[in-house]
């Protein structure tokens, strides 16, 4: 297996393709409707850019879908349609932060299109030198994705059912991004209520390590908040599907929506993180404006 399609080459997709390319794979993509930054990243990562999705589906032996979760189902539908048009059936891997239920719907689409579907989840930053990025996967036949373990990716099979890898991603992301949103909210509230310094003092008495950890999460979150909104809604749906309240993660999505309404969200991953005080001030002001 030598040709991999990646849709789309954003921060995560381009980093994955770069690693695969450096390990001898031919990485193809198409850029219809993608941003200038995505195009730049695809070029920098050395992708071969094909004119259309049909070309990608015809050319690639395996297609990895790496997008914001809100686009995952739509892209799968386009790829399934493209498979019917082209009669090409590359293995399809959904790598997105989606609920097990959404993964199962995509699995059904791919079965109907006549190809193998692999559910996958990514934990960690975009892969690269010194980065600890882990890919988990599940499905009836995960061999094609496992092969990428010899091409520079760290891959682990977590089960034989579609949905298991997504479930793992959901609960893990809940612990990281959910906590980040919760701490952001309470720090913004403390600022708005004029007790920020008193709260810092209380943390210094017994929870300084925890608090310090989360202050770092608050400042590194803003430029990623926009794409996390959909992911948090997937988590809410996942939890609701097992009878748990969706409201915590609907609220977490609300927090990332608030961040995305501010200038903080316009930063790119290439700029340094803003100072904590700036993040809290901007968010407190935006909350007041929305109130």
């Amino acid at each position: 297996m030598d040709i991999v399609g990646i849709i789309s080459p954003g921060d995560m997709g381009s980093a994955i393709g770069k690693v695969l390319g450096e390990n001898g794979m031919d990485v193809v993509t198409c850029l219809e409707g993608r941003s200038d930054l995505t195009q730049l990243q695809a070029e920098e990562a050395g992708f071969r850019i094909l004119p259309t999705l049909n070309d990608v589906v015809r050319t690639a032996e395996i297609v990895l879908c790496v997008t914001p979760p809100v686009e995952a189902l739509g892209i799968a539908e386009q790829v399934a349609a493209s498979m019917k048009t082209t009669s090409a059936t590359p293995t399809y891997v959904d790598c997105n932060a989606i609920s097990p239920g959404t993964a199962q719907r995509i699995g059904t689409l791919m079965s109907e299109a006549g190809t193998t579907f692999i559910d996958a989840g990514i934990i960690g930053p975009p892969p690269g030198p010194g980065r600890r990025t882990r890919f988990s996967c599940s499905g009836l036949d995960t061999a094609a994705f496992e092969e990428l373990g010899t091409r520079g990716l760290n891959i682990r099979v977590v089960g034989r059912e579609v949905g298991q890898a997504s479930a793992l991603k959901m609960v893990y992301a809940a612990s990281t991004k959910g906590s980040a949103a919760l701490w952001t909210e309470l720090m913004v509230a403390a600022k708005a209520l004029g007790v920020g310094e008193e709260l810092a003092y209380e943390f210094s008495l017994g929870r300084s390590e925890l608090a310090e950890h989360y202050m770092g999460e608050i400042t590194s979150m803003p430029h990623r908040a926009k794409r996390w909104i959909g992911e948090m809604e997937e988590i809410a749906a996942t939890f609701q599907d097992v009878g748990l309240t969706p409201r915590i993660f609907q609220g977490v999505a609300d927090m990332f929506r608030l961040v995305s309404e501010t200038s903080l969200a316009d930063q790119t991953s290439r700029e340094p993180d803003p100072p904590l005080e700036t993040v809290l001030e901007v968010l407190a002001k935006q909350a007041q404006t929305n109130h």
Copy 2:
């Protein structure tokens, strides 16, 4: 100042009274409508039990209200009525986990009743030997409560406005109890989705200290969950009042409500914490039942 009234002598109230009693104060209370456990705790703590609330208001120089937050406003109304009946006006201190808005409503009631009101918040476990319990307070005149700093309590003034001490309590409790609920939810979801072991493995790779911390919070929470429901709703209201989403903490309240529907909530603070696996199993089953 030698006579303090405490309403009511639950886990927290009885521990506070015990410390004040050991430091030479005469601690009075009444037990109308209180549980057998509360009665036992009041007796063990050496409180002088008076027949009615009017007797407490007539006898005490300062009254501390220490209850579940949902009862705070109702008790304040009863005490204010009692002040009118008895023409006695002891200083009234609300020590509960309530929103600044609720604290301000109680402040208005007490002004109308002709007495001094002090807003207070408690951070930490019930006070006692080796316990680090901090009382913060705010209000125009906090001197009477500050005096209890010479009677074994650790008291700090955080401002001159009613609502500031409550605000500090809200944001601090958001960080502890909110996080506990969020981690409980994701661990229960992992269990229900059959990826608990995979999640534990992922945590072991990079977040083991954080995860270990929160596993401890999950097991020590169940017997306290019931009384936290109202507190989380106060936090939701506090955040909404500054334009932030109420949904995270409405969901946190949902989680504690789920816990309170199970046998886990029947444990008392005198029994050892249940094992993590038991907590997760019971909650996953209850969620499924409610679904």
